[in-house]
Assembly symmetry: none
Homo-oligomer: 184 residues x 4
DNA sequence: TTTTAACCGAGACGGTACGTCTTGTCTTATA
DNA sequence: TATAAGACAAGACGTACCGTCTCGGTTAAAA
């Protein structure tokens, strides 16, 4: 019978440590100590620290609602707001580190990678928002939604890797590039 | 006086080991052994293994000419060919591992990140190619080149993280998304 | 819960290596390899290689019964036999190296020093033998036993440091010097 | 052409470092730095750090005149004074460390060992003093001077290894033990 | 109700790699 | 041409974690 208390403590400890020190300084021993748990309890349920991060991400513990994609009826505005909020996070040292931690975890774990691939680990509202834009005739019915999403999310990931601050207008231009071919 | 022989041996050993086993199994001790070099000689000149990878990338030792961006005069065809060749590499286990290795290194080292940011670590011909497309009136003079590049390269990075095979037509649609707003 | 198997393997490996190569070429890594043990298992229980040697000495693993002090009823003969047997050991390269190893360890570790101080690391029968000589009226009741022991053992230590072969009659003269003032 | 300045600087640096930090923390690199000299200059002229210490000892740089054996005409008093002065040195932390440093060096280098063997590294006046005691009929003509010296010096060495403070009367009793058989 | 089997915390174990330190050799440039 | 300066290959240092493996000490279901 699995102990739910232990499970929760482990995931929370993981979140705390990733946010405080980053993925590369995250250790199983550190998590066990922080969670007040034996190492074996971690190894019993997760195969690697990357899988732990994946679980945190899945449970919404790492990016919960941070980047809710709004739906005001104006797709461009919504996307710009969303991208801007992410860029804002990247502007803070801890936010930038968190994003890089997720990317690092993704290089080791498919689940994390897939989770990022669908809108940056958030409740993948991006696909839904684009689809609803088609329904509202804001986008052409044959717009390549997947590729648009990949371009948008990918640009954000790449920005995080570059560690460059996103200057004025970057979010707008990025959204325009992505929407360009697909708007009426 | 720095030994050029040692420097070259270290970089080559790094390239070999990254390609064979991936970044996460790359160790300083392994590099030193492979290069026939003392560990201190590595630590004397590089602060971390990520910096070593950055140097390899800079020296063109890791991706040299792998993704030469052609210039046939037709921008769309050129970009599709370039993206396709990258997708092809990602289809092979070793190629995928190499790309993920670079991304992992980028999460630890700004230089690697910047190098990826400008066209995927290749001799950043992408910017030049886009500029020449403006000159040839293939693109609008005010096309947001940087954001176009970010979207394109970012999509490729993200694809690597997702480990999903790039299906039929993905390269084309991706290029079309990116070029959409800027052509004609 | 400490592993007795590991403890024994480590001490035995230490003994073997000290005897084969001497204290100055004794390394923690070498002991760990020889014992088939992780380095941390050594560091967990001993603070230094000198402490390891002290433990071996204490456990009788290094000089066990090598220099049993006989008790024939004739103190002078017994001491001469004992000193001679030590000089004989010092005549062999390995024996000399072992003795110098112990002295070297003693310079770094009090316990080894004390163990040498009381009769050369052997089960300190020397004090007992001298006491029984008083009881048998072979020595004056007020004979300064401690100083006699120090003089005798010290002379042996010093001989080991000098690396000079102990010539004919040295053992006898040494014992006579030490016993001189204390024999009826 | 050997640089006398370098030679002196090296020996003085050795003395300083041995006295300050002890033999086990004495390194060739440290000496070179302290002396403002290249390492090669040391290796060119001395085979090991123990040989360096031997040279310092020989040159009187380490124990110069520290333990001058007096000659008042009363052998016992002279020896007691000499042993007491050594015990006094051993009572100070730095003096004890210095003596242990010499012993440690002796385990690695014959010259140091021999130097200790003949009266503790001092200008070997001990033998001379004993001889003159014979001449003055303070000792029997056939007294075993060598063994007496070994017993006395050895006891002091051993005391240093034991790190035990020499209590009241130890010096006297020690001298009496050694002189016992040879007086009157 | 008692057994028993799984899970728990704790942490020792054999290992690997870390980044530092020192060794003794070598090369360079300085004077 | 002997130096100081210091790079080099080698390898030990002591530390940090890895993933596996006992330990006893709770639980909770099965007997």
């Amino acid at each position: 019978m699995r102990s739910e208390a232990a499970r929760a403590a482990i995931l929370q400890a993981t979140v705390r440590l990733v946010q405080d020190r980053g993925y590369d300084r995250l250790t199983i021993e550190g998590i066990a100590a922080e969670a007040g748990v034996g190492k074996q309890t971690i190894y019993r349920w997760w195969p690697s620290r990357a899988a732990l991060v994946a679980d945190c991400l899945l449970g919404g513990l790492l990016l919960r609602d941070r980047f809710e994609l709004p739906n005001t009826g104006n797709l461009r505005d919504d996307l710009v707001a969303w991208v801007s909020s992410i860029f804002e996070l990247l502007g803070k040292p801890q936010g930038e580190m968190l994003m890089r931690s997720l990317i690092a975890a993704a290089t080791e774990n498919v689940d994390v990678g897939l989770r990022l691939y669908e809108s940056l680990g958030t409740d993948s509202s991006l696909t839904g928002r684009l689809q609803s834009a088609i329904d509202a005739s804001e986008l052409r019915p044959d717009a390549p939604l997947d590729e648009m999403r990949e371009a948008l999310v990918g640009a954000v990931i790449l920005r995080a890797l570059s560690r460059l601050p996103a200057g004025e207008g970057v979010a707008e231009r990025l959204v325009d590039v992505v929407l360009g071919s697909a708007t009426a």
